[in-house]
């Protein structure tokens, strides 16, 4: 990855907490910092409830971040009022997981696309809007005859194309894709994935690709971030991550993925103990320590910092195991941490 590439989105320590009953708080996203470079696909993986979707929604300001900053093209939009988000909406769009609930069942798809244009005051006349809508439909592989059909008249794959058309019609630069293919059948999935890739090539799009299917993410992404319980535990280029997974969680996750290759069934699998802890009351220190085979008392006491480490540059991991390598000694690390705390105070 070349360093001079343009950073299009940068998040710093983004947190999203949800209040629940009894004055408790669900820490869905708890301090995620990452950068999206222009034109790349950033894959965000993690299991159900790890906060990856919440992060995506927060990123495009469907929800307001509890804390932290989100910069899009250098502009901080994390606290911008709704009225000023118009431009952001044009720049960033989202494609949703469920092709069945993401389309209003009572609005014809052509009307829906034209409505998007109307909201942003694009296109002068009705026929101009219609032309633009039809253009985008063709682009995602829908026929213009479908202009006046209702969503329920389409199959899942086609609906996902409609969802994509809705996102693309505003000419965005960044698209947050929230599990866009996980609800689709295998044979349709590949069609949609290819469509994503084609559009990226033609329109120079940047994707934040959120998914739990690691093989899909691996296929489509340039870089991958791994989330666990609201934290980004590891981040690296796709090749790097798969060849050298550092975080114990990443290692377990990758080993658990089944392979469509009957000859490889003898591979070593790391089976994790137990279940995901509750995000209401996450473990102290390292959030993964309750299931980590290498956990020590240090992991219990101290939250690991995200360190850029690993065989290649841009491989960041949040695990005490690698602190020594980074700082030289564990002691130095703790010292560094102490300083950081002092500064924070």
């Amino acid at each position: 990855m070349k360093k001079e590439r343009e950073v299009i989105v940068e998040t710093t320590n983004v947190k999203k907490y949800f209040p629940v009953a009894h004055n408790q708080i669900v820490k869905a996203v708890d301090g995620v910092s990452l950068k999206l470079y222009k034109g790349e696909t950033y894959g965000l993986v993690g299991e159900t409830g790890c906060g990856k979707s919440t992060f995506g929604r927060t990123l495009i300001r469907l929800q307001n971040p509890t804390e932290g900053t989100i910069k899009v093209k250098g502009k901080d939009i994390s606290n911008a009022p709704e009225k000023e988000l118009g431009d952001l909406r044009k720049q960033m769009q989202m494609v949703f997981q469920d092709p069945f609930t993401s389309l209003n069942p009572r609005i014809r798809i052509g009307d829906m696309l034209m409505e998007v244009l109307k909201i942003h005051g694009i296109g002068n006349s009705k026929s101009e809007k219609m032309a633009m809508a039809m253009e985008i439909m063709e682009k995602v592989g829908l026929r213009t005859e479908h202009f006046y059909r209702y969503p329920h008249e389409f199959s899942g794959g086609q609906r996902q194309r409609i969802g994509l058309a809705r996102a693309l019609i505003l000419n965005p630069e960044i698209i947050v894709c929230d599990e866009p293919v996980s609800a689709l059948d295998v044979s349709i999935q590949s069609q949609i994935i290819n469509l994503f890739l084609d559009l990226q090539d033609s329109d120079d799009l940047t994707y934040l690709f959120i998914a739990h299917d690691i093989s899909v993410v691996k296929y489509i992404s340039n870089r991958i971030g791994v989330m666990y319980l609201g934290h980004l535990v590891e981040e690296a280029t796709t090749e790097d991550l798969f060849s050298h997974p550092l975080h114990p969680y990443t290692q377990a996750l990758l080993s658990a993925v089944p392979e469509a290759n009957p000859h490889k069934s003898d591979k070593q699998r790391i089976i994790l103990k137990g279940d995901l802890p509750s995000p209401i009351d996450p473990p102290s220190g390292c959030v993964f320590r309750t299931r980590c085979p290498y956990a020590t008392t240090l992991c219990e006491d101290l939250k690991p910092q995200t360190l850029d480490i690993g065989p290649e540059e841009g491989h960041r991991v949040a695990c005490h195991m690698y602190a020594e390598k980074h700082y030289g000694t564990t002691g130095a690390m703790i010292e560094a941490k102490g300083k950081e705390l002092a500064v924070a105070k």
Partner: protein, 302 residues
């Protein structure tokens, strides 16, 4: 910044699109109609309802007599050629009164259904959207719901005076909280749908989201409920008439005819049997129709 070419539509293109639209609309309509026609219960309900509606609209011009024309000395005559359903205690033609009563009862039912539906929609939508509005509106709804409906209606009728307008107001007050609750819960479900989130992601304003995207999607349960409110209003109006707080004389509502007729139930049953049967049939028809409507309006079950 992207290489989308601006494409223009020719007249022919537009014409073709209009054609497609018309064809599709027709197709979608006929599909729905087909689906509805297959639902035997709903069809029966609709037919009954339409007959009564027809009677309500055109019936009065089909009747020779006035529903309020008294002929006291000709009172309580059994059904005959001149008076198909007999005459009532003031010698009025029961048949004519039942036909005109259809009009009054329909007006009451439709108005109460429609007004409480609309109010319910507004209440539901805003309380699903705004936390403070929700608190206030729902407390008011809870309060009104907590008062037994008939009692509320009686006291309201006594307070406002016997008048068809006030019957409508009373029954609307009684039915709106339920409608509001229903609309609110439906709106809360719809609000969580991804397409609403998508609209927000696109930058749609709240008002657009509320009225263009949420409202149409909660209309089905509301419409269905409206047919039931329509039906129960007819029954409740009858109950109010029975308690002396319904549509006042001389206007004939089914309720007031029945209520008058009950005093002669031992001797002149025709005053009960005909209007009673027609009331029951109409309400039955409406309920059947409402059930059918529920299936029909569900966009996913096509």
């Amino acid at each position: 910044m992207n290489n989308m070419k601006q494409r223009t539509l020719t007249e022919a293109d537009l014409r073709r699109m209009v054609e497609i639209r018309n064809r599709l609309t027709k197709e979608q309509r006929s599909l729905q109609l087909h689906k509805f026609l297959r639902n035997r219960q709903a069809m029966v309900g609709l037919v009954i309802f339409l007959i009564v509606l027809f009677a309500a609209i055109f019936g009065p011009s089909l009747c020779k007599e006035s529903p309020v024309a008294l002929n006291v000395l000709n009172r309580l005559k059994p059904p005959s050629k001149e008076h198909w359903f007999g005459t009532d205690t003031l010698g009025r033609d029961v048949y004519t009164r039942v036909i005109y009563g259809a009009r009054i009862s329909m007006i009451v039912g439709v108005s109460v259904g429609a007004i409480s539906g609309i109010l319910g929609l507004i209440i539901g939508i805003y309380s699903s959207y705004n936390k403070y509005a929700d608190e206030i509106l729902m407390r008011i709804c809870d309060g009104l719901k907590a008062i037994p409906s008939i009692l509320l209606a009686i006291t309201l009728m006594t307070a406002l005076g016997a008048d068809i307008k006030n019957v409508i107001i009373s029954l609307t007050v009684v039915n709106t909280p339920t409608m509001g609750r229903l609309a609110r819960s439906a709106a809360l479900v719809v609000k969580e749908q991804t397409y609403i989130e998508a609209m927000r992601g696109i930058g749609a304003k709240s008002r657009r989201i509320l009225w263009r995207h949420i409202a149409p999607n909660i209309m089905s349960p509301l419409l269905v409920q409206m047919t039931f409110v329509f039906a129960t209003s007819i029954i409740t109006e009858a109950a109010l008439s029975f308690l002396g707080a319904g549509v006042p004389a001389p206007q004939p509502s089914w309720g007031s005819i029945l209520s008058e007729g009950r005093t002669v139930i031992f001797t002149s049953q025709w005053m009960i049997i005909f209007p009673g049967a027609i009331t029951a049939m109409t309400v039955l028809g409406l309920n059947l129709f409402g059930d059918g409507l529920r299936d029909l309006l569900d966009p996913l079950s096509s």
